[in-house]
Amino acid sequence: MDVWSSLMDGFATALTPMNLLYAVIGVLLGTAVGVLPGLGPAMTVALLLPVTYALEPTSAFIMFAGIYYGGMYGGSTTSILLNTPGESSSVVTAIEGNKMAKAGRAAQALATAAIGSFVAGTIGTALLAVCAPIVVQFAVSLGAPSYFAIMVLALLAVTAVLGSSRLRGFASLALGLAIGLVGIDSVTGQRRLTFGQPLLADGLDIVVVAVAIFAVGEALWVAAHLRRTPLHAIPVGQPWMGKSDWKRSWKPWLRGTAFGFPFGALPAGGAEIPTFLSYVTEKRLSKHPEEFGKGAIEGVAGPEAANNAAAAGTLTPMLALGLPTNATAAVMLAAFTSYGIQPGPQLFSSQGPLVWALIASLFIGNLLLLLINLPLAPMWAKLLQLPRPYLYAGILFFATLGAYSVNLQAFDLVILLVLGVLGFMMRRFGLPVLPLILGVILGPRIEGQLRKTLQLSAGDPAGLFSEPIAVVVYILVGLILLWPLVFKLVKRNGPARKPLLPANSGAPEPTDVG
């Protein structure tokens, strides 16, 4: 497969004026929702899904690519200027970034974050373009047993590794799998969990579920705990960096990228671990360790690069295997399905032009982010002043509109409210949202692979282990499940763990025993 010529074709598609316009819209929209509290890229893509049915799939995905990277960039702006990270992956950025902003170096913090994101995003996307076809070559040889095993691994890994409580993660996953069961069983035509309600026979629309959990749940939750005295956003001018800032930033950018991409590409995914590792590494390697905790530029540059490289890495399993490991990728996968495109290793051969246009637009989106957002930073900072009643009323308004416009039936709004209340409850009691969404999206596909596997082996459970890759993956699954036991034993014998993050960093401490 010739990566280079495919990629050039992708650029040719992505650079047509219309598609370039969609990329600009995506980047601006993504940054705006990333900056605004309460909104995230996953929710935005979900909300835009019904709107983009009128578009060519290629244009829609070019816009989604812009939203994906834009959201990441906007999130770091907020965490630097407000010190209350919206996403767990920008927790680390907030530690040093906000200290820098308070010390009057907001412009440099934003600049190193933006340029670092560009560097990491570009390298990450290049690695994606190189790695994904290799993964595909390997993946086309896999059969249903291996797919089943890999999907189980992804679900368990995301559930068990991320978040502070594994038990609550699994509870969330189980709820998601249950929601995914609703509807007519595709093999036998049996109705499951429809309660005689014909409107449920087609299953719950993923747009409705995602919007309910991300948007309605979030709006209700924030409404219940709305800050009466709004946080003070630090005003900022044009981001720029001096010579010494460049000198101190470029190595952390590259190291952060090296941490981020592989972690993002693993089925366990997530940007939390690589950002954290990057922070710790920079702290150790820095020539100015005394500045850490008081606003060291390395502590912004490294984790931000790691964050963006992980975002690029996440797209590798998503495009090559049809396996999403973060919320935005999960919703984008659902978007493929709703366009009638089958995700998985066949994607590169059946939808080659679309995939390469998507990858090309990731490069373009990255460059646009840098060109558009460096001068616009003061405007984004102003966006943080938007009165909160309008912001959250707007979220509910557009959530309703988006969910209603899928099928034009009021019944979907009832579901939206019910699942929104579920989303509220999950936030209240610390159930992570991601496992639920992955359960809804991957559940039916896992069931399909399981049934295919056992059909091939005529019902013999040994069929599950009939491929070597499947066996290897099950060993990994076993390790992930047993890891906390091992960890407990080690901890009992070893010295107490020292806290690696400074106090009051806003980072969640692992609290429970689940």
Binding site: P37, G38, P50, Y53, T78, L82, S165, L167, F170, A171, L173, A174, L175, L177, A178, L181, D185, T188, Q190, R192, L193, F195, L220, W221, V222, A223, A224, H225, L226, R228, L231, R388, P389, Y390, A393, G394, L396, F397, T400, L401, Y404, S405, L408, A410, L413, R427, R428, F429, G430, L431, E447, L450, R451, Q455, A458, G459, P508, T511, V513, G514
Partner: protein, 167 residues
């Protein structure tokens, strides 16, 4: 935190365990009622996965209940606009849900322009804005813009309802 509020918090979280357990039972009962003859081409059948999910739900419910009784606690989610130091403010949430429900009831009969206006205006007021007239005008503008935007831009005809013929 006083022992009373900790106790209450713990008890509230048992509701989550209860919900998980109930969901598990519902999934189990629903799967149990399916009748399918054994088929060579689908040895797993439509019941197996629901049984597994039901099992997972019940196990999570039990473990969560034990965890809560032992003093485990889910960590409420923070955020830019979230202030966890004050208790849940139901005086904001309930009117918000009310505006949402009103929209569901009105949308097919009165049409999106009216129900959307009610929704946005109701939400803004519930969230504490006190510029009644300005908010009302913004609400009408938002509903009208989205109505025509969806119709002209996307070809999606939102219900016109009572205003049919005017819009």
């Amino acid at each position: 935190m006083s022992s009373l509020t900790t106790g209450l918090k713990g008890r509230a979280e048992l509701g989550v365990a209860l919900l998980l357990g109930a969901a598990g039972v519902v999934v189990f009962v629903d799967a149990n009622r399916l009748v399918t003859p054994y088929s060579q081409s689908d040895p797993v059948g439509p019941k197996t996965v629901p049984y597994i999910v039901a099992g997972l739900l019940v196990v999570c419910a039990v473990l969560l209940a034990i965890n809560v009784f032992r003093g485990g606690q889910g960590e409420a989610e923070g955020g830019e606009d979230v202030d966890l130091t004050h208790p849940a403010d139901w005086k904001t949430v309930l009117p918000l849900a009310g505006a949402f429900i009103l929209n569901i009831l009105l949308i097919d009969w009165a049409g999106w322009v009216i129900s959307g206006t009610v929704l946005f205006w109701g939400c803004v007021l519930a969230l504490g804005s006190r510029h009644y007239i300005r908010d009302g005008l913004i609400s009408i503008a938002m509903s009208l813009l989205t109505f025509y935007g969806f119709y002209l831009g996307l070809g999606i005809a939102l219900p016109a309802g009572l205003l049919e013929g005017i819009l």
